[in-house]
């Protein structure tokens, strides 16, 4: 693996890079960055808040979270080896220096645009017109949100959370922390204290959002943690599909990424949240890589509401995340579809929680783990049926595919059933890749590496099919690239 800074300009080179199975997105962008000194204390929290010109209530929220954080220890229960994170060694704010807020694409720093282009984000208006509205998060500050006007006509709010705090303070205040409390866990408290930016989405009553909303995260500045916060509110009878893509440049040291995603789904509304996570995973010896420690949770508050999480996780040195559904509304539906690939020395402990509180609530969990190299890949899940939740259903299927004799694949489901009308089923299998299938491919002239890619893609298809089309193609390619050189 090559750590030197690269400058790759045309897409052919990128593909070449990718097929060499080096980290595709390992380049940094030279732009002026305003960074505050490393370290965390109450002053830093106040400084972040002040720099962002936040109202008093938000500063209070941050300070409460910070004080709560002081009472917590880093959680150790997951099946991962994680060093103690030195919160004092991290800088908590890095914003690209603004000349003036960009009014049009022309004003956006061309280097930033070039970065996004390299990532394949269609930020340019002409490409954007073909489909997506992108809220690109470069380090901590939202750079440019496209399609705002078009969405505004429908009353859809899609902007950075900082802007939302200014422009829609009532909405933000009402929902912020309502699903993931700052008391929830160590990383949630940390995020609540120092969150820099993120996306805010509000879909008004009865509106079916006509395009996929998308955020691309990218950690850029050296030594900065990224603490985004995403808040999505789908009001009654609305629909939105939200895409999140993540990449980070190649860095020697570990980078911390402690995000929160909160989703509120009201009566009969539906939210589909898709993630393709490809943060830098560290090198073949397990040096470097992103710590992806994320709290994602949605509250299906309304009756007949629906929340669907789909994730393809191929990156990060450490992944710790459990996108969850609290099914509070009667007849609400929660779904979790996940593909998690780990190789080299990656560690992933990921899964979901389905908390059934409303009657007739249903949930489906499909998790596909693929482990290679010396990696550790765990599924961890909770299905809980509370005593009042009559006629709930859960089906969980959880498969692990092993590509090496040195990796670990683990399954930790918990089923807590406190209602006799529930039907909860869990099935899990662990097996190595089918050698007959590989031989069959070989015999037809397909080399082993490619065969593995094909077989794994087939294995993950059930989940990949849940991704929106544009994403699915990318995810499929990503899976193939990630697995190259993994068979052995």
């Amino acid at each position: 693996m090559n750590n030197e800074r690269r400058n790759i300009n045309d897409s052919d080179d990128i593909i070449k890079e990718a097929t060499n199975s080096d980290y595709k997105y390992g380049f940094t962008t030279d732009i002026d960055t305003e960074v505050i000194p490393r370290g965390l204390n109450e002053e830093v929290v106040r400084l972040i808040s002040a720099k962002k010109g936040e109202p008093e209530w938000l500063l209070d929220f941050r300070l409460k979270a910070y004080r709560h954080l002081l009472t917590l220890k880093q959680p150790k229960w997951a099946h991962i080896k994680i060093p103690d994170i030195d919160l004092q060694a991290i800088s908590y704010y890095a914003a690209p220096v603004k000349k003036e807020g960009p009014k049009s694409l022309d004003e956006v720093d061309p280097q930033i645009l070039a970065t996004f282009n390299r990532l394949g984000i269609p930020l340019e208006e002409q490409k954007v017109l073909s489909g997506m509205a992108v809220d690109a998060v470069m380090d901590s500050v939202s750079v440019k949100t496209t399609h705002r006007e078009k969405l505004a006509e429908l009353g859809v709010i899609f902007c950075s959370i900082s802007e939302a705090v200014k422009d829609y303070p009532d909405l933000v205040r009402r929902y912020l922390g309502s699903v993931v409390s700052y008391r929830d866990n160590f990383y949630a408290a940390l995020n609540s204290a120092v969150f820099s930016d993120g996306s805010f989405v509000y879909i008004p009553k009865g509106v079916c959002c006509p395009m996929e909303l998308s955020t691309y995260f990218r950690i850029n500045a050296q030594g900065t943690g990224q603490f985004e916060r995403t808040l999505i509110v789908a009001d009654d009878d609305s629909y939105v599909s939200y895409l999140e893509g993540c990449t980070a440049p190649m860095r020697d040291e570990n980078q911390l990424h402690a995000a929160i995603v909160e989703i509120v789904v009201e009566d009969r509304a539906e939210v589909k949240y898709s993630t393709v996570q490809n943060w830098w995973a560290g090198d073949a010896e397990g040096r470097g890589g992103v710590y992806n420690l994320v709290t994602k949770r949605g509250l299906c508050r309304g009756e007949s509401s629906k929340l669907s999480w789909t994730q393809v996780e191929t990156g990060s040195a450490i992944t710790w995340k459990y996108p969850s559904c609290v099914l509070a509304g009667d007849n609400s539906v929660g779904e979790f579809y996940s593909v998690a690939v780990t190789r080299n020395y990656q560690q992933a402990d990921t899964g979901t929680k389905m908390i059934h509180i409303g009657r007739n609530t249903r949930s489906t969990i499909v998790s596909k783990g693929i482990s290679a190299g010396h990696s550790e890949n765990s599924y961890r899940g909770l299905v809980m049926i509370v005593p009042k939740a009559d006629n709930c259903r859960n089906y969980t299927q959880c498969d692990s595919l092993l590509l090496s004799s040195t990796c670990g694949a683990h399954t930790f489901p918990v089923m807590e059933i406190d209602n006799p009308t529930a039907i909860v089923e869990h099935e899990a299998t662990t097996s190595k890749i089918n050698e007959d299938q590989i031989f069959y491919c070989n015999q037809r002239g397909i080399p082993t590496e490619e065969a593995v890619g094909l077989i794994v893609n087939g294995y993950a298809k059930e989940v990949m099919n849940k991704l929106p089309m544009e994403f699915a193609v990318e995810a499929q390619r990503l899976l193939q690239i990630t697995l190259e050189g993994s068979v052995g």
């Binding site: 005593p387 489901p413 918990v414 089923m415 059933i417 006799p420 039907i423 909860v424 869990h426 662990t430």
Partner: protein, 427 residues
Amino acid sequence: MNPFQQFIDLHKANPDFFEGKADIFEDFLKAVRNLRRFANDLAEMMKPDYGVNLNGVKSPRQPALVRRDIPDYSSAIITCVNDTYYVPASLFDGKVKVAVYDADTFPFGLNAYHSLSHFNRVFSQKVLHISIEGGAKLEHPLQINNILSAAVDLATFRRIFIEVGGGAEAKIIFNDTTADADHRYLSSQFVDVFLNDDAHLELYDITDTSDNVARLNELKVKLKRRCDFNLYSLSLSAGNSINIYDLDFESDNSEARINGFVIGDGNQRIGNSTFVNHLSRHCRSNQNFKYVLDEKSHGTFYGEIFVWEVARFTEAYQSNKNILVSRDARMLSEPQLLIYNDDVKCSHGASTGQLDESALFYMRQRGIPENVARTMLTQAFVGDVVDAVKYQPLRDRLRLLVENRLYKRSSRPCDNCRMGCDTLNRK
């Protein structure tokens, strides 16, 4: 003052007894948190002011009065009243050697594994040592009847050490019952089992105690080469109980099957934990646990399959299926797979639900009343565990016991024992 000293002072026990055991007690206190995963309320289990028979006074109840053999078969019987063993002079023509040692002078290493064993080690005074001669083929089972019988609330501690010689074939039946059901008991048992090469063992752990019994039971099994081990955990009525079953595949080519059922009602809290540790190659394990929980009973199943990097060609399966019969029944199921190599076939499945409504209607349409149909279906549900019982006379008896239990029929003619040997035998 250390907590151990406080404990002794508080209970005004004989301090000599605890000599040199302070560290064990410390370990126990630390390890207790491991038990939190069970629905059982450990504090509640420990709450009664139990007496401990420190001086080894024999129970006034003579074992001769207690008839507890299972009919249709003959078995060698070891009776244990509380924690005092009554061992017959000779078993199976000397092929099985049984001895009772003082715990302090027991010649074999007694390893502590879990919190429960720490706890047991503090108080257990005697060790029952059972050694089955290599090559012995025992046609009949060796039955160990654990009887709780006291005039006060009592804590009992049994320590058992079983060795099965190379190529031996044996069946061992633990049968836990309560004689004086009015009193509360803490029943702690720790069993070590060693299977030498080519040994075959069927081990039955049958619990049919009163609801006043808090049971802490741990069974640790080590298997050498080409062993065949069948464990049956049969909780007909188990009060407040925790069973921990640990299996180590120490050498290649062994096979183990664990079958278990739990029938819970009232306020029973029944937890089973399995840890199947694949340390060697070409071993196979299969677990099947079924729970039927009625009334306010709570069940816990915590099952772990661990496959080490060296344990290639492992096949390990686990299934946990549960039925909640009533509104207030609860089930917590945690099946876990930890796999560290790729040449394995592993799966687990868990489900919690109800009886099949369409089957229920089908049966009612044929004229079978709902309650009968439900019981028949429940019987069928745990039926595969009973069917897996290899020893036929016991299998037949268990069918009847399960049926009686599910119909909540009392068939305990002697001392609340559900085996009901005499009356049922006449049929």
